[in-house]
């Protein structure tokens, strides 16, 4: 059944190319996927084989077309994909006569991303991501804005290079594991000799890192997102970029030892994302470039959680890190998609994204201002919106080691966490400046008489905003999907505190968290 999530967008894309009415078909497919995705997620029982599919494609090497909800991480990223896809299809401004490229490309990107997150076989995990990249390049190069050829060329070269490095790492990994097949189950059950892990880890860090715009491999991102048509920047920045983080977390158990020698490097690079790119973001003069750089910056926080995980040595030693990373990936995906979608609207309504030419837009377009403000505040981690839940868990995961052993003093991860916290100030600076320049102050020529969002334009934005608010107010709505994951061999500690009876609100509570401490 789960294969439907991939087949539907592909079928719709082919139908559109063959002449079916483009927008209705694309919308129908996205909506159907949204409904199905929600059903699959909510009815998931914890068994990865439920509704899954495993077909052997090749015997030697042993490759399967295997799809399924492998764990909570897959579920949450699948949900992110169908959510952002729906909004992206709804909010596209398709230039006249390009419907047969625009909508199929969007759907192919979605299908590729879903394939990557739902594959339970390493080969297809990789191949689906490549599949999603091709329409991304085509869309930027053909239908992009501004310096689109340059941007398309740059992102292609970068991501192709990243993919090749990644491929080399994966091949090495498969060779070293010597598993029966490329299925995750088999790979994760195998062990890789320690002397080989270090090299594999380096390839995977660089390969995945380039795909996630890890500093200093980040300079493709902002120009590409600025040039890309709105649905592409929404889908790539929001969804597809998470592939690299997903891959690292997925394969982490196989190379947990091999990653440790690279910890210092990773910390330096992630601080490059947060602080260096943070300052670069402050200096941006165009709204879309600012947003593109901010999305690069925020990847640093997910890497921080991964660094905390690497330092701890296993998921059970730092059970906060992985959920933190995943919640933040989801939240960032929704918020950046909303921001890119709305900045596209701003350009359409005012004709510019140069910050110096904007001003006072909140007067004539209050809904646009409200939704942009909400997404912007989400992205800088305002509590009550999803990103905060992710960020605070990331910071907690960074200090888990210190909380377990305060006598040991502050270690490198804690120092990195402290430095990363300054990024919270930096991001507030650039978002509030941009909001101030765009929406506040007196009305200027560009914004004079600019229209507010129409009802139809509001739908995708309000839809995305809902997924910032719901997990923001109550993060367990999202985290609960990870309840079925068993991160460790040891059973979760269950501590009931008789004095503090839990309120009857949560439908589900994994392991009845032990009062914030587990001393």
């Amino acid at each position: 059944m789960i294969v439907l999530l991939i087949l539907i967008p592909i079928a719709a894309a082919i139908a559109i190319m063959a002449g079916a009415p483009a927008r209705p078909a694309a919308l129908g497919a996205a909506l159907l996927n949204l409904v199905l995705g929600a059903i699959f997620a909510l009815t998931f029982t914890g068994n990865p084989d439920d509704g899954g599919l495993t077909i052997q494609i090749l015997e030697k090497p042993n490759i399967h077309l295997a799809l399924g909800l492998y764990d909570g991480m897959s579920i949450i990223l699948m949900l992110l994909t169908v959510i952002v896809t729906f909004a992206a299809v709804l909010s596209g401004r398709c230039p006249e006569g390009t419907e047969r490229i625009w909508f199929p490309s969007t759907l192919f990107i979605a299908a590729g991303a879903l394939g990557a997150f739902l594959s339970t076989d390493l080969f297809f995990f990789y191949a689906f991501h490549e599949l999603a990249l091709i329409p991304t390049f085509i869309m930027i190069g053909m239908l992009g804005r501004g310096d689109r050829k340059e941007a398309a060329w740059k992102i292609t070269i970068y991501l192709a290079f990243g993919s090749i490095v990644l491929l080399a790492g994966l091949l090495w990994l498969v060779n070293a594991a010597g598993a029966d097949s490329l299925l995750f189950d088999d790979l994760l059950a195998s062990t890789i000799p320690a002397d080989q892990q270090k090299g594999i880890a380096a390839f995977l860090l660089v390969g995945f890192g380039i795909l996630v715009s890890l500093f200093p491999f980040h300079s493709w991102a902002a120009p590409a997102y600025a040039s890309a048509p709105a649905p592409v920047s929404m889908l790539h920045a929001g969804v597809l970029k998470k592939f690299g983080l997903y891959g690292l977390l997925r394969l982490y158990p196989m190379i947990s030892e091999g990653l440790q020698p690279w910890l210092t490097w990773l910390i330096v690079l992630l601080l490059g994302n947060i602080l260096w790119v943070g300052f670069v973001t402050i200096n941006q003069k165009r709204l879309d470039l600012m947003l593109g750089n901010s999305s690069v910056m925020h990847m640093g926080y997910v890497f921080l959680a991964i660094a905390a995980l690497i330092a701890a040595g296993s998921e059970s030693a730092n059970p906060i890190a992985k959920p933190a990373a995943i919640v933040l990936m989801f939240a960032h995906g929704v918020s950046i998609a909303l921001l890119f979608g709305l900045s596209d609207r701003i350009e359409r309504k005012t004709g510019t994204l140069e910050l110096r030419d904007l001003g006072g837009l909140a007067k004539s377009a209050p809904s646009l201002a409200f939704l942009f403000g909400l997404a912007g505040l989400a992205s800088i981690g305002l509590p009550g919106l999803a990103n905060f839940a992710g960020e605070v868990l990331v910071f907690l995961s960074g200090f888990k080691e210190f909380a377990d052993d305060p006598a040991g003093g502050l270690g490198p991860i804690q120092v990195a966490t402290i430095l990363s916290l300054w990024g919270v100030v930096i991001s507030a600076v650039y978002i509030l400046r941009a909001y101030r320049r765009t929406f506040q102050g007196p009305v200027v020529t560009a914004t004079d008489g600019a229209r507010d969002l129409t009802f139809a334009e509001r739908i995708p934005a309000v839809f995305l905003a809902f997924f910032l608010i719901l997990p923001g107010l109550y993060p367990n709505t999202l985290i609960q999907f990870m309840a079925h994951d068993a991160p460790s061999a040891e059973p979760p500690q269950i501590v009931h505190d008789a004095d503090r009876p839990p309120l009857g609100i949560p439908r589900w509570s994994p392991g009845e968290g032990s009062m914030l401490t587990e001393h």
């Binding site: 090497p61 080969f123 191949a127 490549e130 599949l131 990249l133 091709i134 190069g141 050829k149 398309a152 060329w153 740059k154 491929l167 091949l171 498969v174 060779n175 490329l182 300079s219 493709w220 260096w276 300052f279 670069v280 402050i282 200096n283 006072g360 505040l377 509590p383 605070v392 868990l393 910071f395 907690l396 200090f399 210190f402 305060p406 804690q414 916290l421 919270v424 100030v425 101030r436 506040q440 102050g441 109550y474 993060p475 985290i479 991160p487 979760p492 004095d499 503090r500 839990p502 309120l503 009857g504 949560p506 994994p510 968290g513 032990s514 009062m515 914030l516 401490t517 587990e518 001393h519």
Partner: protein, 610 residues
């Protein structure tokens, strides 16, 4: 569900209802918002005498770890809730008049409800993470309300400044929370264990204090509060005088109350006390030369908050009593400072949005009710002995600066501030209310409508009676007057002496003046210009942050992009030329490149794996 969740549900529901639909009807929005705060006020009265268990639920749970949202209704938070909802209710009622014809009335009341929700969360939080959540939300609602008139550049800038300065404080606050988590073993106040003294604890306490420095506008992060006066005046009364800015004091005292005053028994307590005292002094000096009525009050607020912080910091020496003195002053100050701000709001309203005191004058004859209540509040602020609440709490604060009945350096600072306060308040009062009107607006001023006058009268009563023992005793955690103090006579003599001296000097200097006689004095010019701190910060932002950002951007563009990865790109471009020969435009080229990539994957997987 325990009924006290209603404390959070009422204001949240009001804000949500306004945003989701009621905003089309401004009157209804205002009504719903006011109704919600009235309901929470009733609740806080109902719960005032009761003893309630805590209640909580899991908010974010991973295996073996959980962040919880939990409410703690104890002796401390019950008293604080009474203050917050009490001032909140009166400010809502006053706003019904003050904001009657504002275009953004619904948005304004929505902001007030978000504020009430957030502030309630801080007060009732039973753990640090929850407190941080609402702490930030309070900052956000303050941003919304300061920037209410966002089309004015000054208001939009002030809102941004307030948010960013608070974020800087919260940067330290979060680190402090994380460190205390390790040191005290928990986030939950009641489960935190008093950690062993050491440099890490000192650092953690000072970092936690950073949060209070931001929110309670202490030096060096005080710069946002005077600018915050760009917001509507009732907002200044509620948020920037009585409640939000007191949150820092409350947070520090919450730690003492739940964990122990010994937390401050290291260098951190001393530093906190000195920062409080320094802020009290600097702000009082700046207050002597402000011409905007709200700015005088804003600096006065800073100064009084400095008193409170100083007292809380002295807990390391005096135990819980010192913090109680700070909380007691917070509680009395809330009423009379809210009254001063609402009074200034009434004046501004009556003078057609004139805020310069030198363009007022003679208002005593034209606005009798406002003048009388303003006079009572002034008496409370300058601590007229035995008559008003402010006297009792200020005595307790001064008492903390003594050590076993002997004076300390802090005592002299505190006493000097006690002299400056009556001086600048006398200036304000004389210039605003006495003499002849100095502008058309002041000439035409008439008493404000009942809906605005009524809150003033209620606050005036409270400003007088709040300090009397039976009344203050209802808020047990806020009344330090148990047991005997050495040096009470010394403190009384000092405060009475400074009061008389301050009033007298103010009277002599400002009687029958049309302009400030001290304005040309070089020293007072420094005070007028706020010690040039704002200018210095602007330079830091420009030459520090913005220059670093520009340099980083330059290197990013030309070094990383140009050379490092650009080289890679150029190398690949040569390779790509092969495909360009296919003369298919670049795009098909990319697609083919990738198709070949995938074929390569398949090839490598098939033939290179064992």
């Amino acid at each position: 569900m325990d009924p006290f969740w209603l404390f959070l549900i009422f204001p949240f529901a009001a804000a949500a209802a306004i945003q989701l639909g009621l905003k089309r009807n401004a009157r209804l929005s205002a009504f719903v918002s006011t109704l919600s705060v009235a309901a929470t006020f009733v609740l806080s009265v109902v719960f005032l005498g009761s003893d309630n268990p805590n209640s909580h639920f899991n908010w974010a749970t991973t295996s073996g770890f959980s962040i919880q949202i939990g409410l703690q209704l104890d002796a401390l938070s019950r008293g604080m809730m009474f203050v917050v909802t009490g001032v909140g209710l009166l400010v809502h009622v006053f706003s019904l008049g003050y904001m009657k014809d504002d275009d953004g009335k619904a948005r304004y009341f929505c902001g007030l409800s978000i504020f009430m929700f957030s502030m309630t969360g801080i007060v009732l939080a039973d753990n640090f993470i929850m407190m941080f959540i609402f702490w930030e939300l309070v900052g956000f609602s303050s941003y919304l309300l300061i920037g209410h008139w966002f089309q004015k550049d000054s208001a939009a800038d002030a809102a941004k400044k307030a948010f960013l300065v608070n974020r800087i404080g919260d940067f330290g606050f979060m680190i402090g929370i994380l460190m205390l988590w390790g040191l005290a073993g928990s986030f939950v106040f009641d489960s935190m264990e008093l950690p062993a003294q050491g440099p890490l604890l000192t650092a953690a306490m000072l970092l936690v204090f950073c949060g209070a420095v931001g929110k309670s506008a202490q030096f060096p992060l005080h710069v946002w509060l005077p600018d915050a006066m760009e917001g509507p005046t009732p907002v200044s009364a509620l948020i920037h005088a009585a409640t939000m800015v007191a949150a820092g004091v409350y947070m520090l005292f919450r730690l003492q109350f739940s964990v122990g005053a010994d937390l401050f028994a290291n260098a951190s307590g001393e530093i906190i006390a000195w920062i409080g005292a320094g802020t009290a002094l600097l702000a009082a000096l700046m207050a002597t030369q402000q011409d905007d009525i709200k700015r005088v009050l804003a600096y006065s607020t800073l100064s009084q908050l400095g008193y409170m912080i100083m007292a809380v910091g002295l807990a390391g020496h005096h135990g819980l009593t010192a913090g109680e003195a700070g909380m007691f002053h917070l509680y009395t100050h809330a009423w009379f400072k809210a009254l001063l701000f609402l009074g200034s709001g009434a004046i501004i309203y009556a003078c057609h949005h004139e805020q310069d005191i030198w363009k007022m004058g003679g208002l005593a004859k034209r606005m009798r009710g406002t003048t009388a209540t303003f006079a009572i509040a002034t008496a409370a602020l300058i601590a007229v002995p035995y008559l008003v609440s402010g006297f009792y709490s200020k005595e307790e604060i001064l008492m903390q600066t003594l050590s076993h009945g002997h004076v300390t350096p802090l005592f002299f600072v505190a006493v000097f501030v006690a002299f400056l306060t009556p001086f600048y308040m006398t200036r304000l009062f004389i210039v605003t209310f006495l003499g002849k009107p100095r502008s058309h607006g002041a000439e035409e001023a008439r008493e404000v409508p009942t809906v605005m006058l009524l809150p003033l009268l209620i606050l005036a009563v409270l400003s007088v009676v709040a300090g009397f023992k039976p009344i203050a005793g209802m808020f047990s955690a806020m009344d330090p007057r148990h047991g005997h103090h050495d040096g009470a006579a010394l403190v009384l003599a000092a405060s009475a002496g400074t009061l008389v001296a301050g009033v007298l000097l103010g009277f002599l200097v400002y009687r029958r003046r049309d302009a400030d006689p001290l304005a040309s004095n070089a020293l007072f010019k420094v005070f007028r210009n706020k010690f040039y701190i704002d200018e210095a910060y602007a330079k830091v932002v420009r030459f520090g942050q913005d220059a670093v950002a520009a340099i980083a951007h330059f290197f990013d563009e030309f070094l990383i992009n140009g050379l490092l990865v650009g080289g890679l790109s150029r190398g690949a471009a040569g390779f790509g030329n092969l495909f360009r020969r296919l003369q298919s435009g670049n795009l098909q080229g990319y697609a083919i490149l990738f198709a070949i990539g995938i074929l390569l994957v398949i090839y490598l997987t098939v033939f290179m794996t064992p």
